[in-house]
Subunit: 315 residues, 2 copies
């Protein structure tokens, strides 16, 4: 008998589910992607459908011992979701309750960036590194997740890692959060789209990077602003909690070396400013997660397994 | 027999030592303050003198089971001190080795802000609150310390809490660290002294606050700038690790309500900007440590006791 945990990365576009061996949390035994039906009923139904397809894909001698979900929004200790506007969920949703009553296995629900931080820590452990990391998720928005000294930092009030809403530019444009000049207005996909409106094929980040490569001066300025503030985000997490690693992930990081190379060139040239800056070792500390690594789904599964081990499963 | 741990808060002006009951870490049985002799030999000699005076002040039936020291500078896992320029210690100093060989008891050495964070967490516990805190030390410089989910965050490379060296003002004045516009150029005692040079009696922070109260427009601007950036420091730690408490301490905080009241007024008026900002609950989260609470000395003692409990004392 193989005991497996199912991890769900619930996003506004799709739900990505994996089934992982509980004894080897980065061994993916089955994988399913299904478009998300938005709204509370749709999200629950899509999640249950993904679990069903995963179970069908597993060999007969496997048993699902737990399900973990990572979802964008604030999740309390009881697995109740709030603030999930990207999923068209405007009222509090007892996601843990809805999934566990339908599935009859223990369910654990976490914020998706926290789940991804857990998954990234496992990835680091598989490389022989300590589980000590600040994850920077550079997607539509900008957020951080932390696994410190091996433990996921959940925070006191659902605000952990919300560095995208540090107001860094005085008199900057208004953010959806009501403040002005927030970090994520510059260092995120939404920030690039805001400064480089584009309705052609493909995502905005590619368009602005292509235009910059072609020599468009305004595109170069937008790209440089993005890189500057992404560097600041790396400094903020480093000078706060001093993680062994800063790991970059999220949609914009699909640009790969087109972001990493000029980012590292900037971090390198900043080091010439002072021995203090070079002592931060930002280039050695920072690494991009491989684009296809399913950090949030694996992390969600691992958090469900952890909770089972600690004897606090509730079904 | 009463088992006690001695805690030393080693500063550039004085060494403050306390003897605490190991079973009640905030019960101070004896207290000594001695002016610091600077330089490696002087610091070690002063520390030993403080320990001697504490032992003499204790009843006969007490046994010192460990000594903990908190000291400004970078301290590695072996208790070796570097970067302690305020103590005129320019080369690496094996402080743990020097003290433990002279005292014949286990010695633990930590950075002073980290020791204070541990002491503040104990203070919170004594108030029935969780040990989950970002300490902001607003002294000559500005630095943070973190006890998260009950554990002191030591960090990967001696940089934990160095938020004072986030460069927040483009083209700002040059900092001693070599960067420009660092946060501590505004939100610290050194920052106030830089903007309000003063050679009268008493410390600069009092002078600039007095002048501001008397209506001096430039002093009001310096004070408002200080308060603005202190508020930003509170936001940075909150939106990074979301601590249950932000606790303010350090020399500038001796101004007490003269800082706290206008700071809270600012945080309150910022809340009107958006529901996101008010959701941070910065005023409820933030509290000033009572001025005379010996957080660094108590925390240094407690870290020594903890290390003993975990069985990793080395003498």
């Amino acid at each position: 008998m193989i005991a497996v945990t199912i991890g769900l990365d619930i996003g506004g576009t799709k739900i990505h589910g994996i089934a992982a061996d509980v004894t080897r949390p980065d061994a993916v035994l089955a994988e399913v992607r299904t478009p998300t039906v938005l709204g509370p009923t749709g999200v629950v139904a899509t999640a249950l459908e993904v679990v069903k397809h995963l179970v069908e894909a597993l060999p007969d001698d496997t048993t699902v011992v737990a399900v973990g979900a990572g979802i964008p929004g604030a999740v309390d200790a009881d697995g109740v979701l709030t603030n999930a506007v990207n999923l068209d969920i405007t009222e509090a949703l007892d996601l843990r309750g809805a999934l566990s009553s339908a599935l009859s296995v223990p369910v654990t629900v976490n914020n998706d960036v926290n789940a991804a931080a857990r998954g990234v820590a496992t990835w680091l452990r598989s490389r022989g590194e300590p589980e000590d990391v600040a994850l920077l998720s550079v997607g539509t928005g900008l957020a951080a997740g932390f696994v410190l000294d091996g433990r996921l930092r959940r925070g006191a009030s659902g605000l952990v890692g919300e560095i995208g809403h540090l107001a860094v530019v005085e008199d900057g444009p208004r953010c959806t959060c009501g403040q002005h000049g927030c970090l994520e207005l510059y260092a995120s996909g939404r920030g690039l789209a805001r400064q480089w409106p584009y309705d052609g094929p493909g995502p905005e980040p590619v368009a602005v990077f292509d235009a910059a490569d072609a020599g468009d001066e305004r595109a170069i300025a937008v790209r440089d602003t993005f890189l500057h503030w992404l560097g600041e985000a790396i400094r903020i997490v480093t000078l706060s909690v001093d993680p062994a690693r800063v790991v970059l992930t999220g949609g914009v990081m699909r640009l790969g070396p087109r972001v990493i190379e000029p980012l590292f060139a900037r971090l390198g040239s900043d080091e010439t400013a002072s021995s203090f800056v070079s002592s931060l070792r930002l280039r050695e500390r920072t690494v991009a997660l491989p684009v296809e690594y399913p950090a949030a789904a694996l992390g969600a599964a691992e958090l469900a397994t952890d909770q089972g081990r600690s004897g606090s499963w509730r079904s």
